[in-house]
């Protein structure tokens, strides 16, 4: 037996991560469009419990790359093991979720295999028998189409949230099979030291009902007062996009986005935030999204419910007054 579409799993706290399930959904969709089977590859050490969980995720096969050299993630270890599995199994497609780990090793793997990787795709569509993969360029302002040519395998990573994990078709039980990998051939040159939480997350914004979030458009730390007044008027928690936290204008534990917190409040009020992908992934499931930005083409307006194109230094004080008048 062999698999046509190989999805590479990632674990979190000993279970399959949600983004892995999203990647399986991508594989199931592609499999149904192309009439191909889907398998899931687990890498790590002592994978038997995880393998049972994986077998129930609606895949034909679960492949295991189980080795002590894979207990901790390293780019050399993962790329080396995957290269061997891919060369032996010869799938048509290898699918990943575009996590920080995948960003670290998938381009290396692609180069080692001499095969293309389309990274961070937001969806695909079929043109005849061939999928066209779509990814964003210019920080989400423009979409770009890519086809894949030459001999398989083709490598594709999908952005977190590109596919909905709730759409998983978890029918049947996949067969579990160990792969033959020779890890003596793989030299691991980096040494993993400790993993730690950078900032004690003192604020849990995931439970906030209303959030006022501020971006680069605020320009100076003195101007933060303006946003604090808006937050007070709306009885909202205050948060920010990455540049504002990098500059120290708000503590790091108030950062929203891929490297910060993921939130889904009833109201997300974005002030001077252009809406780079890294920010959007952290807040796109919010109920009502308001955006105030001077750039009418800012991507934040693509996901906002209400937009105001204008100078936030004029608009925000007026909003504070208008909100207070209605309380």
């Amino acid at each position: 037996m062999s698999v046509d579409i190989l999805v590479v799993a990632e674990q979190r706290d000993g279970a399959l991560s949600r983004s892995t399930v999203e990647a399986i959904v991508a594989g199931q969709n592609l499999g149904s469009d192309l009439g191909k089977s889907v398998g899931l590859l687990l890498l790590g050490q002592n994978l038997s419990d995880l393998a049972d969980e994986a077998a129930a995720k609606g895949v034909q096969e679960v492949l295991l790359a189980d080795h002590e050299k894979l207990a901790d993630y390293t780019p050399d270890g993962y790329s080396g093991a995957l290269q061997q599995v891919i060369e032996a199994e010869n799938p048509d497609y290898v699918l990943f979720s575009h996590t920080y780990m995948v960003r670290d090793y998938a381009p290396k793997l692609a180069a080692a295999l001499g095969k293309p990787l389309v990274s961070d795709c937001i969806h695909y569509r079929m043109e005849g028998r061939a999928p066209i993969f779509v990814r964003q360029v210019f920080q989400g302002k423009i979409d770009a189409d890519f086809a894949l040519q030459g001999d398989a395998p083709y490598l594709v990573s999908f952005q977190t949230g590109a596919f909905n994990a709730d759409n998983l078709k978890a029918e049947g039980t996949g067969a579990i099979r160990a792969t033959n990998i020779d890890m003596d051939r793989v030299e691991v040159r980096t040494k993993v030291l400790e993993i730690f939480e950078g900032v004690k997350q003192e604020v849990d914004l995931s439970k906030a009902e209303r959030i006022v979030s501020v971006g680069r458009g605020i320009k100076k730390p003195e101007n933060m007062e303006l946003v604090k007044e808006l937050a007070e008027a709306l009885e909202a928690d205050i948060a920010a996009s990455r540049p504002v936290c990098d500059d120290g204008w708000l503590p790091l534990d108030r950062q929203i986005g891929s490297s910060g917190q993921t939130v889904a409040p009833k109201l997300y009020f974005a002030v001077g935030i252009s809406g780079a992908i890294q920010h959007i992934v952290g807040m796109k499931n919010s109920g009502t999204i308001v955006a105030v930005n001077k750039d009418p083409h800012a991507p934040i307006f693509d996901i906002a419910d209400y937009g105001i194109v204008g100078d936030l230094f004029e608009v925000i004080p007026a909003v504070v007054t208008a909100v207070k008048a209605r309380k």
């Binding site: 780019p75 920080y100 960003r103 670290d104 090793y105 381009p107 180069a111 001499g114 293309p116 990787l117 990274s119 961070d120 360029v137 210019f138 423009i142 979409d143 890519f146 894949l148 040519q149 030459g150 083709y154 040159r189 980096t190 040494k191 993993v192 030291l193 400790e194 993993i195 950078g198 997350q201 209303r210 709306l234 990455r242 540049p243 990098d246 950062q255 891929s258 490297s259 009833k266 109201l267 252009s274 109920g287 009502t288 308001v290 955006a291 083409h297 800012a298 693509d302 906002a304 209400y306 105001i308 194109v309 204008g310 100078d311 007026a318 909003v319 007054t321 208008a322 909100v323 209605r326």
Partner: protein, 262 residues
């Protein structure tokens, strides 16, 4: 320590991008350019390492004539010299192709450390640096937030998701991709700007790198870039119109009565 910093010029943030009629790319001639943000941090990282441990900082960039402005800026900030690949005869958004060309320029330099930004603000594939490591046979770490020099290598702090980090030890030579915000970027001094004029900028054509047009031909890696276009909006924001007071009143009404969020 000899450090090579890969830098790219990208359109200035918030540029108004216009797509060409044939959807092949955006109109580039009307845009202003700046050093890609994370590449700028990579340069600053290199300069700090040199100040602490000695050595040389070499800028490597590729692009049309305009990228010489980025080189000038980098040299004014303190880089020692620059390698400039003039790609007048080819442009590619394929990271594998670009990494092949960059690797050919880096190899003869035998650096101790290669730094690159973690991704560009234009194409944004986030692949070129990592592919470069594989092409050069170097160990790498991506998304680096801190670097410590050890006796026999380096120790780096890598950013993970959701506010987590990891310390990793690597031997040298190595390649790192640098995250924005790792440090505070310096301004060039007048003295630096004056000194930059005397620094070496070595211009390289594909043939100088032992490469031919076939090596960089579009689609040669299997990646077939087809077109760019403005994304279909899945959700249409209601854009409120009027002077600041008007829009504020409208918004407060909508939030209170339609969305019922306060």
């Amino acid at each position: 320590m000899k450090i090579i910093v890969c830098m790219k010029q990208v359109p200035v943030k918030d540029s108004l991008l216009k797509i060409k009629d044939d959807n092949s790319w955006v109109h580039e001639d009307e845009l202003n350019y700046e050093i890609n943000e994370s590449d700028h941090y990579a340069l600053e990282t290199a300069l700090r390492l040199k100040e602490a441990h000695g050595g040389e900082v070499v800028i490597l960039t590729m692009g049309p004539e305009r990228v010489k402005e980025a080189i000038k800026q980098g040299l004014a900030k303190g880089a020692d010299r620059a390698l400039y690949i003039n790609n007048a005869d080819f442009t590619s958004i394929d990271p594998m192709t670009n990494a092949k060309v960059l690797a050919a320029a880096i190899s003869p330099e035998t650096p101790d450390l290669v730094l690159a930004g973690l991704q560009t603000d234009d194409n944004g594939s986030g692949q070129t640096g990592v592919i470069l490591a594989e092409n050069l046979g170097l160990p790498h770490t991506s998304i680096v937030m801190e670097i410590e020099k050890l006796d026999n290598g380096i120790k780096v702090k890598r950013e993970l998701e959701s506010g987590w980090f990891q310390w990793i030890e690597l031997p040298l030579p190595a390649l790192l991709t640098i995250q924005s915000g790792i440090n505070q970027i310096r301004y060039a001094t007048i003295k630096g700007i004056m000194m930059a004029k005397k620094k070496e900028v070595k211009e390289l054509a594909l043939s100088d790198l032992g490469l031919s047009g076939a090596d960089v031909a579009a689609g040669s890696t299997g990646l077939d870039f087809q077109k760019v276009y403005v994304p279909e909006k899945t959700k249409q924001a209601l854009i409120l119109e009027g002077d600041p007071k008007d829009v504020a009143e409208q918004l407060a009404d909508k939030l209170k009565n339609e969305a019922k969020v306060f």
